[in-house]
Amino acid sequence: MPVEIKHQEENGSQLVSLSGTLDGASATTLIKAVRALLRHKQPVMVELKNVTDATHVGVAALAECLAIANKLNVPFRARNASGSVRQALDNAVEPAKPTRAERKGLLENIGESTLGVWRGTFGFLQLLADTAYWGLLAPFRRQFPPPGSVTSQAVHIGMNALPIVSLISFLLGLIMAFQAAHQLRQFGATIFVANLVGISIVRELGPLMTAIIVAGRSGSAIAAELGTMVVGEEIDALRVMGIEPIRYLVIPRVYAITFTQPALTVYANAVGIFGGFLIGVLYLGLSPAAYISQTISALSLADVSMGMAKSLVFSWVIVLIGCHSGLRITGGAVGVGRATTTSVVSSIFTIIVVDSIFTTLSTLL
């Protein structure tokens, strides 16, 4: 039998008499009734004499009533609990005192985010300095990354990316040739498809697309891997063993990507140009020899070296941001996820910014 609620006034306070079983079914009704009484700032006394039994949900409802009363600063008491009801109430804990959550002011928020950005930047510069030391100077002091680690990272970062890089570069070359063909055909200048595809792929799209693919594939993997190692205290374990984590974990990745990224970019350029070549020959009916010689004459050494320089800088952006996001994580699995996202988003953002700087400078100078 669910609880029955009656209420009457008794010398200045509201007497709420309950009878029956205090359970989940009656919890909401009870809270609603009590809240209405408490709103009028009148003390409430609950008569529990006729309550035969109370479940833990019912008890929690009483605790909630008490919490509401405490918040409104109105006395809320109960009396005559007996038997199992008394036992149940004794097993429950009083409601927690409302702790006022510290609301931060606007200035504090601004200050905190500024500090956060500063700490992040400082940490990144520190990583950059450490990487420069362990990557450039330490080898002269006969301190090398662990044997075999550079090769295995090169396989992960470079070789395993070949299929996806092939597909995307090929399709990119194809698309560009199609798009250009329609415009150039109006002038009867379809042979210039070769120039357009060649130059835009070698100068821009080859390095850029390869970098974005590698950031998504390997930048995220680096962040997640190092992040998990931080969570599992593996980085601390390395430090305690006297093994510098930068040398052991970061440098092999930096070395590997420094070699694989330009190589992947050259490969991507070749495949992209081949995509354009197929369209030029099969769809536009250009002669293969003409297309190839047109491409070669369109490309200057400056274009090629510009593309290579970009790919090198992009590779360091990817690996350093990946390592930085991974090594500074806090907060377990959620932190690893956040680090992975951060690494991809910030590397792609930085890559595009760096690319625009490159392009602007090379055009202006």
Partner: protein, 265 residues
């Protein structure tokens, strides 16, 4: 080493924490050569923080930490590395490198710090793994091990270089009593055979009674009491006696009164 004292670790008025938050304050303790010291205390009282300053993972905010008579935090990098080779640490969750086999993990300090040829490292790894009771685990990956095995593997990595000082963060936490006792016996055995000095963080009372020569009890970032197990059991301080008598707190539920009391007051 020049001014090497009887005390392997000397901590004086140590204050340490993370960011602005002070976790331990004014902690002083010594660890004598060849002894097993247990650091006990409730969760979050700063046991691990003390250890992290000792092994150089955390810089003290104030006070002095000396290991083998030297200050790890103000040394040149290459001397620091030499000092680190004289100690080993067993982390709470093992902290084995997940990307390599157990055998490679145990051999890692050797590969990194010595010119010992590979085939000899393999023999050393075998014997260290056997010493902790894992004679056949060398080719397994850490993910294939159970919790107790992971701790043992990590222990064998910690003792790979025969360190003079072994530090264990909760070596037997979360293991069943039999496995936990096995690890305790292994530690005791290692101390007898190799004469290692050990610092063990634990809140397993049986471990403390079984292996500790000296007990340091921390509470809320301070040293509450230190002494032998017998000293602690007859301590004047009720909290210490309660810990050793396994007595629960007073009747309140986490410091709060029951709903009945609140309603009838």
């Amino acid at each position: 080493m020049t001014n090497e004292t009887e005390n392997i670790i000397e901590i004086k008025n140590l204050r340490a924490g993370y960011g602005d938050k002070v976790i331990i304050d004014d902690v002083s303790m010594n660890v004598k050569r060849g002894s097993i010291v247990a650091i006990i205390g409730g969760s979050g009282c700063g046991k691990s923080t003390v250890i992290r300053t000792v092994v150089g993972l955390l810089r003290p905010m104030a006070g002095d930490v000396r290991v083998f008579g030297q200050d790890l935090h103000s040394m040149r990098e290459n001397q620091r590395l030499l000092l680190l080779r004289r100690m080993g640490m067993l982390f709470q969750n093992g902290a084995l490198l997940g990307s390599m086999t157990v055998g490679d993990n145990v051999g890692l300090p050797f590969r990194e710090h010595s010119d010992v040829p590979e085939n000899i490292i393999r023999r050393i790894v075998e014997s260290k793994l056997a010493m902790v009771g894992l004679p056949h685990a060398a080719d397994l990956l850490p993910a294939e091990l159970s919790g107790g095995m992971r701790k043992r593997a990590s222990l064998s990595r910690a003792i790979a270089m025969n360190p003079e000082l072994l530090i264990c963060d909760e070596p037997s936490a979360g293991l069943d009593p039999v496995v936990a006792a096995g690890i305790d016996m292994t530690l005791r055995d290692l101390q007898r055979r190799l004469g290692m000095t050990m610092v063990i963080i634990t809140h397993e009372l049986p471990s403390v009674k079984l292996i500790a020569d000296w007990v340091v009890m921390l509470d809320a970032g301070n040293v509450l009491a230190q002494g032998t197990v017998a000293d602690m059991e007859s301590s004047e301080i009720p909290q210490v006696r309660d810990f050793f008598a396994r007595k629960a707190d007073d009747g309140t539920i986490g410091g709060r009164q029951s709903l009945l009391e609140a309603l009838e007051s």
